[in-house]
Amino acid sequence: MVTKIHPNLEATNAKMNAQGVSVYYGDKKAIDDVSIEVPSKYVTSFIGPSGCGKSTFLRVLNRMNDTIPTARVEGDITLDGEDIYGSNMDVVQLRARVGMVFQKPNPFPKSIYDNIAYGPKIHGFAEGKEELDEVVERSLVRAGLWNEVKDRLTDSGTALSGGQQQRLCIARAIAVDPEVILMDEPCSALDPIATAKIEELIADLNDNYAIVIVTHSMQQAARVSQRTAFFHLGHIVEYGRTSDIFTNPLEQQTQDYITGRYG
């Protein structure tokens, strides 16, 4: 099956490019021949029914699938033209450049400060206490969390509310200065107010990063993203500007899904 690409889609500066990607778990094919670009300074949303492979495809983009022994990837994926599955690619460096935020907030059971300082420390991005302090503050400010936590940086990250934890995880991801941020349903465990905060944050971050967000909420996709890909059964059925996908879908399947007539 071929992905329908909306005709009036303007050319963008591709940060990542996937060509003919298939992913297997053992013998089971979870992603079948998917091709898509992840443009710089855009938010791309992946929508589609559960189990259609959105998370799988997202995890392929920073090789988190390497941690699953049965997973196997075919096809080409590049970051700035470099093959991320190539032998020259250091997976540790790749993940520093392509950060990830998970569905359930997963701060480390460490202080707020140490949660943020973790990445810069292991990658040697910050030398000495002062520089580290600066990185921590900058990241928390960017994540819109600084004012809420600046007086209690030594408290445990797990003591924050769910929404704050998720912003802490975003701050943690941007502390290592990534180029791409992958978010897998980052708001599905949050209440509407916390969700609104995260959406605002995504809009702010949009200027500097290529962002990919998996979401189950059509409204969210419409609000935060400029590009949308509709996944179904391991394929991308349709890809285009978010506004086009939602107002003028090319495929009946897409139409059914976004109007809620489907899974």
């Binding site: 998970f102 997963n106 480390f108 059971p109 990445g119 292991i122 991801a173 290592v176």
Partner: protein, 461 residues
Amino acid sequence: MSPAILLLLAVGLGLAGWIAARSRAWAFRRDKDVGRLAALPVYHGWYVALWVIVPLAAFISLWLVASPYLVEQSVLMSPAASDLPAAGFQRDTLLREALAVASGTSPGVFNEAAKPLIEPFREALSRYNLIGILSTLIIGFLCGTWAFLRLKPDFTARTRVEKTVMAALLLASLVAILTTLGIVASLVFETFRFFGMVSPIDFLFGTQWGPDPMGNPQNPDPTRFGAVPLFWGTIFIGAIIAMIVAIPLGLMSAIYLTQYAAPRVRSWLKPALEILAGVPTVVYGYFAALTVAPFIRDLAAMIGISGASSESALAAGLVMGVMIIPFVSSMADDSIAAVPQAMRDGSLAMGATESETIKRVLIPAALPGIVAGIMLAISRAIGETMIVVMAASTAANLSANPLDRMTTVTVQIVKMLTGEGSFDHPATLSAFALGFVLFLVTLGLNFIALRVVKRFREAYD
């Protein structure tokens, strides 16, 4: 008097009650008018059976205590007892001999004066036997009938049986707790007796250990009851040398098993490691005494350390360390495995390597569980006796040289209790004081470990 007969009777009556009640409940059920029963027939059966067996069990235990006394009283009332000596040791001996012959456990009497008592004993025994059996039957029948008469179609037999089951379970758990309390009480009692003879200050802070079990019990030499060398030996062998072996090896195997081992490797390596915990400690003792200790001695001699003995703290500690590896590793394994996968993913997604993730995220997150495991392992190690007896000698020695002979608290407890001193000699009683100290320390360690584990559990719920 045979308690087995009474017990059999009780069980038989209970069974009869069970069958009768169940068939009565079935009869209710066949009766169309009554509708549904409040409980299955089998619960009616159990209700009656319990009402027969529980009172009978109480009666039988009472009877077993009371009937020998009743028998003896009735023999003493008999004319044959008139020329017995007054109450005292002699009379008791005669009575016991006569009873033994009368109940058939002894072929004949040694003391002529006991002979006339045999016949009264026989009579009394058979009379009270009969009384016991009759009482059992009557009590069982009355209780059973009472319970049976309460059965009705809407009788809530099920909840009542449930309550009895709960009471039985409670009783069972109380047995363990009460036993522990009893042990502690007796330990405390004997410890106080000991401290009446030797002051706690001399005991806890003295540095010479060598109680003389043959010395004058009225006037013990307090300078020979200094337990510091034992405490030191225990800590040095169990908490220092053994832990230097067990902590790194246990932790590393836990990390390997949880993070690196393929499922197939893990599936046989983990049980294999746990088998270590099931090897009897005396076997470790052999190994320590026959293989490790001589090896250490030869090694020490080879590198020019003179005077190394064939029994050393090092040998005992090393082997003990190996013995407790499974304690450390299985607790560490559990707590590392309990750290949510999301933590690991979060760290890897930041670009951390596997070993950075282990060192900076998994171990800190699992630390409370690991620490708790280590504390349990220490309390296990300081309670260990066999390996030390076999490999580190019984000579108390306050020394920091691991090649010296040393001894531990548990070893001295065994030595003092099995020594030739009489039971109320201070040397023997010192074993209780040692045991009490050991008990307090182990209790403290376990208590802290449990608290730590509990906190850890809460962190992820």
